[in-house]
């Protein structure tokens, strides 16, 4: 077993709710609440969950784009939360992010060449000729043409823009890329192109992805292992086949039963959850899912379940199994 490239433990991000006359903090939104997982080198870890469960916040907290409230993030053994901002800045070339909205993630006033070459410049590639060469190379790697370098982002389609975003992330040969819903803003036909490109790049450059998404079919397609998040916590984490065939956590089961099957004649049991997702500013005590769980027991209301191994490398946070 290789050393994990990324080790997230007990990561928390609480946002203050300001209120009152003097803007005092009157409460907090627990966007990410005690999240732990590891990512091995070369794998694609998918993270799924519904809107507002804290997936994106988790992704940004890992890279310290949002300062985490508590917990630690170890990248190749270095605890990122201990680094000074300058040390962190230096390390950023090893870990990149691809954003969800390709329309918002490229500076509208910069040409593509500038967008892709700026990370090269800040990490020490001083010669403009070298940078030009590298930009050309990167554009070709992601399936664009060298002449695209002299255009502005608004002159591209969504899929092309996302390719530019990928080229920018690849510029400094990172080891880890956090993909924050990289295809959810794209058309389905373009989605598959981008996904294939990302898989190709993974093999070519030995990349590791943390792939955040809300689309189960996308995650199933690309991931090696999948983690399921609910209300800022990880409820289940295992390899994708086990997860899709033998989900343990009641929430995962409900989620899986909602995946459409491309055959209208197949009869199956739909687990329909009652109620809404509780507010993260006032999450339920004990297991966050107990308010909607069909199997809720007394203990679920009081004791928060540990995130533990149930089977071989099958982590579940549920009292039914522990």
């Amino acid at each position: 077993m290789t050393e994990p490239i990324l080790e997230v433990s007990h990561l928390k991000k609480y946002f203050d709710i300001k209120g009152g006359v003097f803007g005092k903090s009157v409460g907090e939104v627990k966007a990410v609440d005690d999240l732990s997982f590891t990512v091995n080198e070369g794998e694609i870890l998918g993270i799924v969950g519904e809107s507002g469960c804290g997936k994106s916040t988790a992704g940004k907290s890992i890279l310290r784009l949002i300062e985490p409230t508590d917990g630690s993030v170890k990248f190749e053994g270095t605890d990122l939360t201990d680094l000074t901002s300058e040390e962190m800045r230096q390390l950023r070339k090893n870990m990149q992010i691809i954003f969800q909205d390709p329309y918002a993630s490229l500076n509208p006033r910069h040409k593509v060449e500038r967008i892709i070459s700026e990370p090269l410049l800040v990490h020490g590639m001083k010669s403009s000729k070298e940078r030009k060469e590298r930009v050309k190379e990167l554009l070709e790697i992601v399936g664009l043409e060298a002449y695209h370098a002299s255009r502005y982002p608004h002159q591209f389609s969504g899929g092309q823009r996302q390719r530019i975003g990928i080229a920018r992330a690849l510029a400094n040969n990172p080891k880890l890329i956090i993909c924050d819903e990289p295809v959810s803003a794209l058309d389905v036909s373009v989605q598959s192109q981008i996904l294939n490109l990302m898989e190709e790049l993974r093999d070519k450059f030995k990349l590791t992805y943390v792939f955040i998404a809300h689309d189960l079919s996308v995650v199933k397609h690309i991931s090696d292992r999948v983690g399921v998040m609910y209300l800022g916590r990880m409820v289940e984490l295992t390899d994708k086949h086990t997860l899709f065939e033998d989900p343990k956590h009641p929430y995962t089961r409900a989620l899986m039963s909602a995946v459409p099957i491309a055959d209208p004649d197949v009869e199956r049991e739909r687990i329909i959850l009652e109620g809404d997702v509780p507010s993260p500013s006032n999450p339920p005590t004990g297991c966050a899912f107990h308010t909607r769980c069909p199997y809720a027991m007394d203990i679920c209301k009081e004791v928060r379940p540990e995130f533990e191994n149930v089977d071989d490398k099958h982590l579940v946070a549920c009292h039914l199994y522990n």
Binding site: K60, L63, L65, R89, Q90, L91, R92, K93, Q96, I97, F99, Q100, D101, A104, S105, L106, N107, P108, R109, H110, E118, P119, V122, H123, E145, A146, Y147, A149, S150, R151, Y152, Q155, G165, R168, A171
Partner: protein
């Protein structure tokens, strides 16, 4: 023939791969945002009118010595309070000075005050606004409260206070006008920076490992320019108006400087006897302020993405 043309075309494409590449090239021309804004602005008649007014006064100011045979200080007691005539286009004032000459030289002063007051307010306001918006927390608290304090006073009162401290002169009036305009720019920039700070491309810049200075200079500032430019143009007019007000109160330019506001003040006593001494400087102030406001409005429309068709 047709075929030849096509081939030719392809060759051109092959030779210049980084330029326009196909027949749709017209549609996706490499227009920079600046170029687009200018094109948009050129379509706006009101903005062009404003621009022409400003150019007129600019020429008047620059070529004042050529345009008139008189000096702005030349007194001629015999010919005092003359009506407009061929010799004195806009008449003369109570000391027999040619009003056209004084307005032409006055254009220099007004544009000078407007320009430097706006530049000063813009630089300091933008700097403070960026610090407040980008770094937030106590820095924002401190800077925003200073802005609030400045804005709590009526601006002309504040200007009078500043001039009272520094002493009345044109330069001090200019400084006073710059100071009272700082919070206007500061607040505008602060709010823009706060919204830009959350933009994904700014987060992306941070994720690339860029330093704060670079993020501010190349990612935040260029994208917050639009409202700053509009405010600067509109502020030009306001600054000129404020300079005239201070001049009128005797707190700006000192005699015999031909400052428009001062000219208004001096002509008060002859209002009924010689209305032209009042009308022409007044109209000049109005026109210049109107000109800048028209350009400002035009720029706002041109820079507003919602107005693009």
């Amino acid at each position: 023939m047709h075929k030849e043309e096509k081939q030719d075309n392809q060759q051109v494409i092959a030779n210049q791969p980084n330029k326009k590449f196909n027949l749709d090239a017209d549609e996706i021309e490499e227009t920079s945002p600046l170029k687009e804004t200018l094109q948009q602005l050129m379509k706006n008649r009101m903005a062009i009118t404003g621009f022409l007014i400003i150019v007129f006064f600019l020429i008047l100011g620059i070529f004042a010595p050529i345009l008139t045979p008189y000096g702005f200080e030349d007194q001629d007691p015999v010919n005092r309070l003359l009506t407009p005539s061929v010799e004195h286009w806009l008449g003369t004032d109570d000391l027999g000075r040619d009003i056209f000459t004084r307005i032409a030289y006055g254009a220099r002063i007004s544009l000078y005050v407007g320009f430097f007051a706006v530049i000063g307010a813009l630089i300091f306001g933008t700097l403070l606004g960026i610090f407040a918006g980008y770094f937030g927390r106590w820095i924002d608290m401190l800077i925003s409260r200073i802005f609030d304090i400045l804005l709590a006073f009526p601006s002309i009162l504040l200007a009078i206070a500043v001039v009272a401290i520094l002493g009345s002169s044109l330069e001090n009036a200019l400084i006073a006008i710059a100071i009272i305009n700082i919070p206007i720019f500061g607040r505008l920039v602060r709010s823009k920076v706060i919204s830009l700070r959350e933009e994904e491309y700014v987060l992306a810049a941070k994720a690339q490992g860029m330093k704060n200075g670079r993020i501010i200079m190349y990612h935040i500032l260029p994208n917050s320019l639009a409202p700053i430019i509009v405010q600067a143009t509109l502020g030009f007019g306001t600054a000129i108006l404020e300079a005239a007000a201070l001049g009128f109160l005797g707190l700006g330019a000192q005699p015999p400087t031909p400052e428009w506001g001062k000219m208004l003040a001096d002509s008060r006593d002859f209002l009924q006897l010689a209305p032209w001494t009042l009308i022409f400087p007044g109209v000049s102030i109005m026109l210049v302020v109107l000109g800048f406001n028209l350009i400002g409005d035009g720029l706002r429309d041109a820079l507003d993405p919602r107005m693009k068709n």
